[in-house]
Point group: C2
């Protein structure tokens, strides 16, 4: 992970950790907010995508990058292809936000739309690969991606070595498992908490039962979390994550606007899931030093 950190430094910024003053008062804790929405693509996904793409051979690079994503990972892959001077093709579900589609187009990627199911995404990617070729950059289910995403927690710990709780949203599990690995290795007894919408609670169920849920149809306003936990992240989450907390569906958007208003930063619904879940569990973080990972800020502002 330290090697990943040096590798991606030119592409992923070290993002600021803001003091969440209004949260301190509300939760009686010392709260910090890690602003990954300030990354070049507006989300943490650049970390994993950069770490993967930069390890490809010259030959693989020439084949071009290929991925499926509801948005932020697509933008990250498109951005990396642009920076590396190679091509990118991204399969995006029809219900992706306009901001995310435009973001991927802006960096010159070819967008191919598909039905908004995980099966359609995988089928379409495989079809594209057969027809046009390309190296698939997985959104979360690979150790290079997990290592890249873990660099976010490395930065938090470097800035606040005695941080006690680090919370991240849980979708496919790349960020959460990377956070858990980094916290175990670089931190001093950090409790890592995953946060999920109650309508995408496969990670919560999986952690509770000890078995990964493979069939689940997420149905949440948090568009970045409409996916199920991957095979590679699952055992790491099972072993190293302290707990999964759920956000009530109706709390997600109000928390998103509240952060816009109180902190003057744009966060997307997936990031608001962390705040909603923390607020429902505030007794558990009372008096603690807590860092919340704000994963992204790609939301259609003209639709709010």
């Amino acid at each position: 992970m330290e090697r990943a950190y040096s590798r991606i430094r030119k592409y992923a910024q070290r993002t600021p950790l803001l003091k969440g003053t209004f949260l301190d008062d509300l939760w009686q804790a010392e709260v910090y907010v890690k602003c990954e929405q300030f990354q070049p693509v507006g989300a943490f996904k650049i970390r994993g995508a950069a770490n993967f793409a930069l390890q490809l051979s010259e030959e693989d690079r020439k084949r071009g990058l290929l991925t499926h994503s509801s948005g932020n990972h697509a933008q990250a892959v498109a951005y990396m292809a642009h920076k590396m001077g190679i091509t990118a093709t991204v399969v995006m579900p029809t219900n992706s936000s306009n901001t995310k589609k435009e973001g991927a187009k802006k960096w010159g990627a070819e967008i191919i739309e598909c039905e908004p199911t995980i099966e359609a995404r995988i089928t379409t990617v495989n079809k594209v690969r057969q027809e046009k070729g390309g190296v698939i950059i997985p959104p979360f289910d690979h150790e290079w991606i997990i290592e890249g995403q873990g660099t976010c927690a490395m930065e938090i710990i470097a800035e606040i070595p005695n941080i006690e709780v680090v919370a991240a949203p849980l979708g496919g599990g790349g960020l959460l498992s990377g956070t858990a690995v980094a916290s175990e290795y670089f931190g001093r007894e950090i409790d890592v908490i995953g946060c999920e919408p109650e309508k995408a609670a496969d990670g919560y169920e999986g952690k509770r039962t000890g078995k990964r849920i493979e069939k689940y149809t997420p149905n949440t306003v948090a568009d970045g979390l409409r996916t199920t936990v991957g095979e590679v992240p699952f055992p790491l989450i099972k072993e190293k994550v302290k707990d999964i907390w759920l956000a009530r569906e109706e709390d997600i958007l109000p928390w998103m606007y509240r952060v816009w208003k109180e902190m003057k930063v744009i966060i997307e619904p997936s990031s608001a899931v962390v705040l909603a879940a923390m607020d429902s569990n505030k007794e558990a973080i009372k008096g603690k030093k807590v860092a919340l990972i704000i994963t992204g800020g790609n939301v259609d502002i003209d639709k709010v």
Copy 2:
């Protein structure tokens, strides 16, 4: 100003200077954005208000704080009174944004509304002082305020000592004159640029003719800049500011949304004035290291 900086540190945060990547490409310059909207009251005004209030005698403090403001200064005075355990009364024009009114109320200040003219504001403040007493904290027309606001540029220069251009909006002139004084004293040949809406261009006219414009009715969407340049800031601006650049009125809101979207930070119309004015003068900053002071983020999000 160095003494002011130590004085206010407990109240005003050192705000982050973000890299404005999309602006680099657009203007072919190296652009940094100083995020004063992350101050506790959502605007730079806390710097001047803190520097003033903390220099009051015990006796004056007991009389309570009093001010008139369209919003951000009101919030700053209310916040300082709350932190110092004293009372605050603020006169606000009826057309202040709800966010700014709520902000002042949140810190326990008494709000008195008045007609949205500078005369009504001054008459009302004087009436309140006669009836209830209180020490007036001026929004800009005092050297303690100017010193406090100048600490923002001090922070920019401490972070990027070879910064070449620093731009700030121009309303009453407290921030711009403070920026000019700090840049002269701490910087290496910095060009300080003031940015005004074309419908509140009294500073531009005053600088051009060398005489402060006293009668002017600003009429701009940038609510924080609906005021005329004060007596104390004017000569400093005349002497130390390189130029005043105008923002086209119709460019202000589009630039506000563009920054929300591209940088994931909330800025208010007054701050967007700086971006709109820079964009109209981009040839002049080509190849330079430029810092833009984002003065605040207090905007009614539910109205956008």
